[in-house]
Symmetry: C2
Subunit: 382 residues, 2 copies
């Protein structure tokens, strides 16, 4: 495959790029370093040093022999997007190029606006770059399980058959997200579904749950290849944050009641899912949607798991509830279907004690780098 | 009420401004003349001359004694929006400020992008101008029935109760629009629903069908006050277009089979509906949605009606099917609920023979101004 990865500098983008290159595909990555800039602005840099994309691509070439082509530019600028797509001439485009922090998107007008404009403009520009330069390419778009919110009915994979007053129809599963970031992905879905229907584009939308982990086959080849692992309140997802708190000797901060339940997956499974999606493209005018998670946990269950494994290692982990900075239900029904990717061949890496223990070991090695004051929530939902 | 009308130069915006001012409210209108500029670019000017907003406001003051404050500026610029909302200090904001042409939005990348960016940026800026300068104000947003598309089930008013695998939930009624313009309004709805839920804004979203007519109590006071009546393929809605074709002696051009069914309403009823919505505001954190139409017709039924009334006036009206430039179903189920506005007090003006006859008379008076080559479709859906 000729693969173009937009947002190739990200927590998922970079490991994905290495994974596709290692599998023998021709890989180009593009990024504007927006996340790095926000991380600097908000004092939220990753735990481990992450060299620039160009430097990482050079190191990866050195240790693996595989090329990754790098383009630095702002994909929210249509001219940049058009030229990147035209030059890469991809058959597969993986779209991660969005501002991914929910708290950042809820910080104020400036941050909301930059999230809104970046995420929507990049998706819009990509659609048109495909129409004009790659109409037969397949887009693999990273959506989020957060698009659905926490409805009182089972969450199907993207679509739902509705029976109403004796008639039936098939519709996008209703969405109601809990942050502006997640809402931009709802808008992406609506926009993609329109252009898929009318222009015959091929799109797979992966509704992904929170990802954890910092190990992949390629990332483990050299310390310079590690994914940018965030533990701060802006970019750190809950599992990664708890692991760092356990190592730093800070109580695991459960937001509110801790009954908030989500579907999680290991970084290694994100790579599998994206590869499977790319290998099984949508047809013309088809929007395939999969729920990308392997197991569901409440926040309290994750805290218990990290505490139990941490204590076995002598870390003396405490758990503490703090006022919830978000507006969200703390007790709710949650039953998402997630069989599609399993049926395509996904072999899940579950969050076993061994997996948690390995992640803790890696963080213990970097313990001196932990900066404690970036862990507690600095952004409150209005 | 202190009323701020965004998009106050439009087919609906200007009559709405006069209607609220005549009812004794304090009215400010804002517009950037985007529609006028597009009309010039695409050779699609309105049938009758429409002076600038400033000129129309002066004429309206002269003939009615009522003031309308005018602000010309681009509301897609956040600084302009913030200053307009802060200075007007409205308790009611009526949001019409969107590029309203479906064909224009489907013309190519440039037109799609300007529609997408204008419509989404204006809505986003308005939300934040309300959060920062008018958090207690009530927004009356003009959506469109086109957001729903033509589903195989009854269209409820904005919301639907779904029973699924033995559990139930209430959701936004699923949307699937047929043009990028209509899709921007789907995205508006998603965005408004998010900010209403999380920030407690008060919003009423009016899902309006195609509007017809060129007469209102205030517009009839002076020729300079007429709404900008379009009959071209870019801005002209189907009823207005057929009326002009009947007068010009051009066969009424039915797109394809003509079974396309929509919900229509008289311009006078738009004024009633918007007034009723303003007088019955949504509560904090409430998104009220009404389907704004008074009766449904297929395109063929409208053609028959215009032909029949036209022939009674000796116009010798022909009807002719042409290849459909749009991608849409030409035969479909269509049953929208629309009882909410009636229950609030709407007294419909139906499309009677007298109403059609009066519209034809007004157009006959302007027959010399009709430019025939702007009627046939110049934009095809890909």
């Amino acid at each position: 495959m000729k693969v173009l990865i937009l947002g190739g500098d990200g927590y998922l983008g970079w490991p994905t790029a290495m994974d596709f290159a290692a599998a023998g595909h021709d890989v180009t990555v593009a990024d504007n370093y927006m996340r790095r800039i926000i991380a600097e602005e908000t004092d939220s840099e990753a735990l481990l040093p992450t060299p620039t994309l160009t430097q990482r691509a050079a190191k990866f070439k050195e240790v693996s022999g595989h090329d990754i082509h790098v383009r630095i530019g702002d994909l929210a600028d249509p001219e940049v997007m058009m030229s990147v797509v035209a030059e890469a001439a991809p058959d597969t485009i993986i779209h991660y190029a969005e501002q991914p922090s929910a708290p950042y998107s809820m910080r104020g007008f400036k941050e909301a606006r930059s999230t809104f404009k970046n995420n929507l403009d990049v998706t819009f520009n990509l659609i048109w770059a495909m129409i004009e330069h790659a109409p037969k390419a397949h887009m693999v778009k990273l959506g989020t399980m957060g698009e659905y919110g926490t409805p009182n009915i089972d969450i199907e994979e993207g679509w739902i058959d509705i029976e109403h007053k004796g008639r039936t129809g098939k519709f996008l599963f209703p969405r109601a997200a809990g942050s502006l970031y997640h809402t931009t992905k709802v808008l992406d879905t609506d926009l993609l579904w329109f252009y898929v229907r009318i222009y015959g584009l091929k799109v797979t939308d992966l509704m992904q749950g929170p990802v954890y982990g910092l190990s992949t086959d390629q990332a483990d080849l050299d310390p310079a290849l590690v994914p940018n692992f965030h533990y701060d309140d802006i970019f750190g997802t809950v599992v990664n944050r708890f692991l760092v708190q356990a190592v730093a000797g800070i109580p695991l901060t459960v937001y509110g009641g801790g009954g908030q339940t989500r579907g999680y997956l290991n970084l290694r499974d994100t790579l599998q899912c994206v590869m499977l999606a790319a290998q099984n493209p949508a047809g013309e005018g088809e929007l395939k949607i999969f729920n990308q998670l392997t197991e569901t946990f409440s926040v309290n269950q994750i805290a218990d798991k990290v505490q139990s494994v941490g204590n076995q290692k002598g870390l003396n982990v405490e758990v503490k509830s703090i006022p919830n900075p978000r507006k969200e239900m703390e007790e709710h029904y949650y039953n998402p279907t997630h069989s599609g990717l399993i049926e395509m061949g996904l072999k899940p890496h579950y969050m076993t004690d061994d997996v948690v223990s390995d992640m803790l070991d890696r963080i213990i090695d970097a313990k001196d780098r932990i900066i404690e004051n970036r862990i507690m929530p600095r952004v409150k939902w209005k």
